[in-house]
Amino acid sequence: MANVFERAGRETLSQLDYVGSLNIQLWATLRAMRKALPLIGNRHRWHAAVHQMLDIGVEALPMVALLAMCSGFILAMQGASELRRFGALHYVIDLVALGFTRELAPLLTAVAVSGRSGSAFAAEIGTMKVTEEIDALKVMAFEPVEFVLAPKYLAALVVVPCLSIVAGLSGILAGGLFMFFSTHLGLPLYFRYVLTSIELRDVVAGMIKSLAFATIITHVGCLEGLRVRGGPDAVGRSTTTAVVRSTFLVIIADAIFTTIFYFVGRT
């Protein structure tokens, strides 16, 4: 019995330690981020950030768009099969438009970015740790947080919301195509319906979510990399943990945000 308590206690402590490290790292990165900004910061960091933006964002664009289109079709078809019975097929438009701007676009983007870039961050930093590159940075009088983390975080904060907008547009377009083929509703008219059903608040809620998801993915990925001890096998494990933990935390955060927006939106 004591054993159970002991394990529970140890597990709690290690989780608290993880959350604490995540917060310290986030704070340090935020302070170092000024150096990564264009014009006022260090231009090498800005170049690194642009490089990361291409890597996290542009390279992921086709994948995210396709993912969102497929999900748009799925959502429209599943919705239509039920709503048709009540003769309320036009509600599919609201379902797709609101579902994507508020929820699915940020979430799908986060899952895609976590799989592509969160794991890549962990692998890159983990390898740097194992090959003493992080130590080399330190003795060359560079701050690893500023040199490695800040450009990545800046890039993610810029690119993930953009990707999420693309995902939203693709998903809504897929819904429009479904409506066109099933009810011959013209796309211009469809988009006018979409615009009347979406409010600015929905778009802002989606953007806030994607900023939060970008933060979670970058910092979990980087922290997993920095916590690598030992050899190459530890790097492999860290990439897996990075994806699993960041996806998990993204969904938890999504639930919290949706709850907040639900209660705020009601009043």
Binding site: E132, E133, D135, K138, V139, M140, A141, E143
Partner: protein, 267 residues
């Protein structure tokens, strides 16, 4: 006036004492070789001197700055006068050889790009890699990587050069070339070098002073001749390459005895 002085340094990992009240002075313009077997605390001492880890107690001052109790900015100022070649070379894998050497010059100095290119070429030429600047570290052999690491350490014309096992894993010819390079640097630039090694030939070729570590303590410090004349049994054992005869240690003997008894007790 010594350039690096270590006072009463105590380092513990998880309660295990790795360095135990160590004192060491390194004189400017000399090559000090740190000798010692595996696990004697050589690498730990090096990490302490580079400010990568904090000691439990004691102090290390480099050029008059106590790096165990100074701000990050002061530490980085000290680090700019130290060039380090790590045991694993620790070259940045994402950068070409040229960029590896140029990194500190680009970021810590305001030199024109053409001057930086020239300096980089010179440093690579010094280690015999002038034609390989465009290659990436993964395209190099082990010996080339080590030499490239020395070139990178020399980039900022450091006052202090720290080399961790520069000749480990190299063929005798390349190892000898590296020794000559270190001697050349001392004679030409009056560089202070701290070289960690367990290769006796190399140590006696380059050293002005040799410090021998054993079990976290300095066993002997002195010139080559003083060390050769030292009668401490451990020093003699190390220099004469006598095996430590682990079979006769009491712990192993009692373990064997118990093992034999348990085998006899079996029916």
């Amino acid at each position: 006036m010594s350039i690096i002085s270590v006072r009463d340094l105590v380092v513990e990992y998880d309660g295990r004492r790795v360095l135990d009240g160590l004192n060491l002075d390194i004189e400017p313009g000399q090559i000090t070789v740190l000798l010692g077997g595996s696990g004697s605390g050589k690498s730990t001492l090096l990490r302490q001197i580079l400010g990568l880890e904090h000691p439990k107690s004691g102090s290390i001052s480099i050029k008059g700055t106590d790096i165990t109790h100074c701000s990050e900015a002061d530490l980085n100022k000290v680090r700019r006068s130290i060039g380090v070649a790590f045991q694993s070379a620790a070259l940045f894998n994402s950068l070409s050889l040229e960029d590896n050497v140029a990194l500190t010059l680009r970021e810590h100095t305001a030199l024109a790009p053409s001057i930086i290119d020239l300096i980089v070429w010179l440093k690579l030429a010094v280690v015999g890699l002038a034609d390989f600047g465009k290659l990436h570290p993964q395209e190099l052999s082990g010996g080339m990587k080590k030499r490239a690491a020395v070139a990178r350490a020399l980039a900022m014309d450091p006052e202090i050069l720290v080399l961790d096992e520069p000749s480990a894993g190299l063929d005798p010819i390349v190892a000898a070339e590296l020794d000559e390079l270190i001697l050349f640097l001392k004679e030409t630039f009056q560089i202070t070098a701290l070289v960690v090694t367990h290769e006796l030939d190399s140590a006696f070729r380059i050293a002005d002073r040799i410090a021998m570590l054993f079990d976290g303590k300095l066993l002997a410090v002195g010139t080559k001749d003083e060390l050769r004349a030292n009668q401490h049994p451990r020093v003699r054992q190390f220099l004469n390459r006598v095996p430590a005869n682990p079979v006769h240690t009491p712990a192993l003997a009692s373990y064997l005895e118990r093992y034999v008894q348990s085998q006899e007790a079996k029916p």
